[in-house]
């Protein structure tokens, strides 16, 4: 088959190659021309979130927040007088899809900025690609902290940011002995390290810890170990639906009367909706946004959200993180006067701030993390939270300490507490 085809193909090629080359050249030129024209009258905003699969408890709201923010900007005249156009892909809760779509969205769709990802592993998969192509990239989720890269900007709270205030508060409230329940991957282990770090700083002590796979559903061994260790409070970091069951089983065993329970991520996936009032009441959480906070810009934000989607499902912190990210980027483009990546990154590093639903947030020039409010809240009986205390403008202290992208623009690292 091939033997008979090949000479034929070669003959056609050798006879017509000039013509074929001309056609291809013409096609290439017209393609470039079309892209140029398109790039001139609209700005392309790339979005890759988990719209389906196990992580869509976060991804759907992240995408909704992105569309809401883009519509909000477009309704107010767009950016640099141009309308924003969203190019969106569904990563399906699969890591490989993030790599694939990041390449597609940059090379084929030629986006000007990327908003994407929930898990740290997805961010780490995309970071080298956006770096190579020099596209500003916003990661909007609470995480273990430490990512440091010229093109990467982070609008969620880092573990050290949340943990410093939470652990200090909890040691004062409950006592010094801490038990850690955390998922068995880098978010859990690095967060546990921070708990230990701040426990020592504020006179506490970690008396035990249990790291659990995301598929565990039966927590009786953990509950047994907690009772043997007799802590004053449990720092629980349940991720995903199954680990929500831990809170239910913890309450049912009667442990809530004996000790406190605090978390940096409880509520970030609306876990307070899933757990029963008995189990959810009294769980203390700390994050950069809760729907119930009292800030001047929160009410208008909630009203816009309700008009577009409804508030049947409470707004999660990642949604506010995306909203802030899109607006901070738009502000930086206005400052830069262009969507050119180097100019936008320089503008983002000029100490830009934005009045978000969670108060004023400021992009730290060196670390590319936000200085923002951290709220400590307590679960109530109506699947919501009551604010106990607001810590204003908490700096991402660890990231500011290890990561200075102004002085060292070539840094591309994921720092861990071991780097301290």
């Amino acid at each position: 088959m091939t033997n008979r085809l090949m000479p034929n193909f070669e003959r056609v090629w050798s006879q017509n190659y000039k013509f074929v080359c001309l056609v291809m050249l013409a096609l290439a030129i017209s393609l470039v021309a079309v892209t140029q024209v398109r790039a001139d009258d609209e700005i392309k905003v790339g979005s890759i979130f988990d719209l389906t699969g196990g992580l869509n408890i976060y991804g759907i709201q992240q995408s909704q927040a992105l569309h809401l923010a883009v519509n909000n900007i477009n309704d107010n005249g767009g950016v640099l007088g141009q309308q924003l156009q969203v190019v969106e892909y569904d990563a399906q809760s699969e890591l490989a899809k993030f790599t694939q779509y990041t390449n597609t969205i940059i090379l084929r769709d030629q986006i000007d900025v990327l908003f994407a990802g929930l898990t740290s592993s997805s961010r780490e998969a995309m970071r080298p690609i956006v770096r190579k192509n020099n596209i500003p990239y916003f990661y909007s989720a609470l995480y273990e902290g430490g990512a440091c890269d010229k093109q990467t900007f982070i609008t969620g709270a880092s573990a050290s940011q949340q943990m410093s205030v939470l652990i200090e508060w909890a040691i004062k409230e409950y006592g010094p002995k801490i038990y850690i329940m955390a998922p068995d991957y880098n978010f859990g282990t690095i967060s546990a390290h921070w708990i230990d770090h701040y426990a020592k700083e504020y006179g506490g002590e970690v008396v035990g810890s249990d790291f659990l796979a995301l598929t565990v559903t039966d927590y009786s061994p953990t509950i047994q170990k907690i009772q043997a260790a007799k802590p004053d409070f449990v720092a629980a970091l349940p991720v995903g639906a199954n680990q929500t069951g831990f809170l239910e089983q913890f309450a049912a065993a009667g442990l809530k009367e004996k000790m406190g329970i605090v978390s940096t991520n409880y509520g970030s996936g609306n876990q307070q909706v899933v757990v029963s009032p008995d189990a959810g009441e009294g769980i203390v959480a700390s994050q950069e946004y809760f729907m119930w906070i009292d800030e001047p810009n929160n009410e208008p934000f909630k009203a816009k959200w309700e008009a577009a989607y409804s508030l049947d499902e409470p707004i999660i912190s990642e949604a506010a993180d995306v909203w802030n990210a899109v607006h901070i980027w738009a502000k930086a483009v206005e400052v830069a006067g262009t969507t050119d990546s180097d100019a936008v990154i320089a503008a983002l590093e000029s100490g830009i701030s934005f009045d978000g639903p969670n108060g004023t947030v400021t992009m730290q020039p060196g670390s590319h993390h936000l200085k923002q409010n951290i709220y400590i809240v307590r679960g109530n009986r109506t699947h919501g939270f009551d604010v106990i205390q607001t810590f204003e403008s908490v700096a991402p202290s660890f990231e500011d300490q290890v990561c200075d992208l102004i002085a060292n623009p070539d840094t591309a690292e994921h720092f861990t507490p071991a780097d301290l």
Binding site: T52, G54, N56, I57, I60, D184, D210, F211, L212, A213, T215, V216, T217, D218, S220, P221, T222, I223, Q224, K225, Q227, A228, K230, A241, N242, T244, G245, E248, Q249, A251, A252, A253, G254, L255, G269, N270, Q271, V273, V274, V275, S276, P277, D278, A279, D312, E313, H383
Partner: protein
């Protein structure tokens, strides 16, 4: 080692075994009596959990909601058998593919219908105190549930005419047909029974394990391993293997970590299959 620690360890490991058995027994019935590997088993559990949630939301008390969920899931299973499984008997890989596809459809349907988070119903906050330790009464109650469930299933499959014909149809389909057993109808009933058991599992475990679209995934791996390691004498084998694996996994997790618990669970399964390639009950002379 204190006595109160050992006593609670024993009870909590029994409750772990009970949870595993409750989640597995539906799969054991389908695989053992029909030879069908139902990859959508986890999603049938999820189906039962959401059916229970739906029933409680419209005001049906929880105990009745469990019955409602069991029946609805059984009916759903019957429909699945008529529409899909029936056409694929004897084609094991096609059945695997079809049920896997079904699991994806069920998962995404749950996301579309119920969203990603739904209020759960919560465990009753009552517990018993043993020395320094306290245990949830509901988890202890599950041990009783598992015993009654297995007992009534054994009775259903050995003493009732349905059970006898169902086993006849699987042992020798042609002879059974010759004496007037309508094997097609029996198969629909058996698949519905297995589905109903999965629905029951979702319903009874709902307080401890909140209903979410992907909840099934957590059960199906261990359930499959338990059924495969059990071998041909399905019910007794599953009870033996399931309770051993569940208890050993729990005890190791209590002394070390849940990761060690899982490793021991899987190593034990591999060892069983290495020694008994047909499953632990490969040479047993029991009926079920």
């Amino acid at each position: 080692m204190e006595l109160d620690f050992l006593a609670t360890l024993l009870l909590s490991s029994l409750s772990s075994a009970a949870i595993l058995l409750i989640a597995t027994v539906g799969l054991a019935v389908m695989f053992g009596l029909m030879g069908v590997i139902n990859l959508a088993h986890g999603e049938f559990i999820m189906f039962g959990a959401y059916a229970t949630l739906f029933a409680t939301q419209i005001g049906i008390p929880y105990p009745l909601a469990i019955i409602f969920a069991t029946i609805v899931t059984a009916i759903f299973g019957g429909i699945v058998e008529l529409l899909i499984i029936r056409r694929l008997y004897g084609r094991i890989f096609d059945t695997l593919l079809a049920t896997w596809g079904l699991s994806l459809v069920l998962y995404q349907s749950a996301v579309l219908i119920f969203g990603t988070v739904t209020p759960g119903i919560g465990l009753p906050i009552s517990n018993i105190q043993i020395g320094d330790y306290s245990l949830s009464v509901y988890l202890l109650f599950l041990i009783l549930v598992a015993v009654v469930l297995i007992g009534s299933l054994y009775w259903l499959l050995t003493k009732t005419s349905y059970g006898i014909t169902a086993r006849a149809a699987i042992q020798d389909r042609e002879t059974a047909s010759a004496v007037g057993v309508e094997s097609a109808r029996i198969n629909t009933m058996t698949f519905a029974l297995g589905s109903g058991l999965a629905g029951f599992a979702g319903a009874i475990l709902l307080p401890a394990i909140p209903a979410t679209p992907n909840m099934g995934f957590a059960f199906v791996i261990k359930a499959f391993l338990a059924v495969v390691a059990a071998g041909p004498v399905t019910l007794t084998g599953t009870v033996a293997v399931g309770s051993t694996l569940g208890m050993v996994g729990n005890i190791t997790a209590s002394f070390w970590t849940s990761v060690v618990g899982d490793i021991v669970f899987f190593l034990l399964t591999i060892t069983i299959l290495r020694i008994f390639p047909l499953g632990i009950s490969g040479r047993w002379r029991m009926k079920l």
